[in-house]
């Protein structure tokens, strides 16, 4: 496998894409675009200390990650969602960059998978 299968469970992602590889590829591309925008906005909300809006966005990252088969990233996003909802800004500040690094790892896995099927 040319991609990190621990970070991207293609079998699970394909199940949510009704086993349609072309559609799954489209979803992965949408996910990367969307998550990039969401992370940018989360940076801004974190800088402004706006935890409710941060929570809404990290919730979306969690759902999107689970749908594509990136369960581990989904779990990290879930932890940040819980903490941002509890207004625990210190925890969010301490872990936000880890989430971003994890997103990059998943993106790398996605690119690897797309290259493999193209």
């Amino acid at each position: 496998m040319a991609y990190n299968t621990d970070e991207l469970n293609v079998q699970e992602g394909l199940e949510y894409s009704m086993d349609n590889v072309d559609f799954y590829k489209e979803i992965l591309e949408t996910y990367m675009e969307e998550t990039t925008d969401q992370i940018k906005q989360m940076d801004e909300y974190l800088a402004a200390g706006n935890m409710p809006e941060y929570a809404t966005l990290v919730h979306a990252v969690k759902s999107g990650s689970r749908l594509i088969g990136a369960a581990a990233l989904g779990e990290d996003a879930f932890a940040l969602e819980q903490k941002s909802k509890a207004d625990d800004i210190d925890f969010v500040r301490a872990n936000h960059d880890n989430l971003k690094a994890h997103v990059d790892v998943v993106f790398e896995a996605i690119r690897g998978y797309i290259a493999e099927i193209s």
């Binding site: 949510y16 894409s17 009704m18 969307e34 809006e53 809404t56 979306a60 759902s63 689970r66 594509i68």
Partner: protein, 265 residues
């Protein structure tokens, strides 16, 4: 489509009675289609006047029954009914003299996935024969989620998408949906507020709303249920489960509407 509405008739011409043909018949949505198999001229009385599609499931015996093939060809030509052909490349080639290419809506060359065949026929009929589909408005701030919902339900329902609460309200004023699938957690205007807006407008108050939520704990689900939606779906549900839930929702609702109508009449 509910039981009291007329179903769409599909006739499958096939001589064999094996697993593949039963699988083909089974794959058609029974809520929408009435499927009849005919295997000889003696069975042409099973062809309803309102037949909307013919499927030729080619095998050697059927190819030998030129009388039945010609009968179907003439009916399809006279009435402009789409015809679908399933067979191996040689078999399909052998009927070209009888069935001109403009008469054949789609050819499916073996080996084929029967589910794909039925989905294609479904799609063709929905697009060309004007089968009325129920309209679902999916509302979610995630494009991944919206596109997935469309993929899960789009072959059976007309799925409209809105990526924000405000977009949803705008969409409802343009096209009234039969059902709204509404994300609970969205920025700016969340699902709770969208539901309140819909319920406060007399013209839209009765549109059923099913919440889509990623939260599975009891407290969160009770919060969602407090808003009295017509149901709720978990984002962790698998596509087939979501589909089954929506199908059952419409079946129950149609049965209820029917019983209300009967009570009034």
């Amino acid at each position: 489509m509910s039981d009291y509405e007329e179903k769409h008739n599909v006739v499958i011409a096939c001589k064999s009675k094996g697993y593949l043909i039963s699988n083909l018949i089974d794959q058609f949505d029974k809520d929408i289609f009435q499927v009849n198999q005919i295997s000889s001229m003696a069975m042409i009385n099973k062809i309803s006047e309102s037949t909307q599609a013919y499927v030729l499931y080619l095998e050697e015996e059927l190819l030998e029954d030129s009388q039945l093939l010609i009968y179907i060809r003439d009916k399809a030509t006279e009435e402009g009914i789409p015809l679908f052909v399933v067979g191996d490349p040689m078999e399909i080639e052998s009927i070209r003299n009888t069935f001109s290419s403009d008469l054949v809506a789609r050819e499916f060359k073996r080996p084929v996935n029967i589910k794909d065949v039925v989905n294609e026929i479904h799609k063709y009929l929905l697009e060309h024969v004007g089968i009325e589909r129920k309209i679902i408005l999916a509302v979610d701030d995630s494009g991944v989620m919206l596109n997935s919902i469309k993929n899960w339900l789009g072959d059976k329902y007309q799925v409209l998408l809105a990526d924000s609460g405000m977009m949803a309200v705008k969409s409802i004023t343009i096209t009234r949906p039969d059902l709204i699938i509404l994300d609970y957690e969205m920025p700016v205007v969340d699902g709770r507020q969208v539901l309140a807006m819909i319920r406060s407008e007399r013209d839209f108050a009765d549109i059923p709303v099913i919440f889509l939520t990623g939260r599975q704990d009891k407290e969160s689900i009770m919060d969602v249920l407090d808003l009295k939606p017509d149901g709720y779906l978990l984002k962790t549900m698998k596509p087939y489960a979501v589909r089954q839930y929506i199908d059952e929702f419409f079946n129950k609702r149609d049965a209820q509407l029917k019983s209300n109508l009967l009570r009034k009449s």
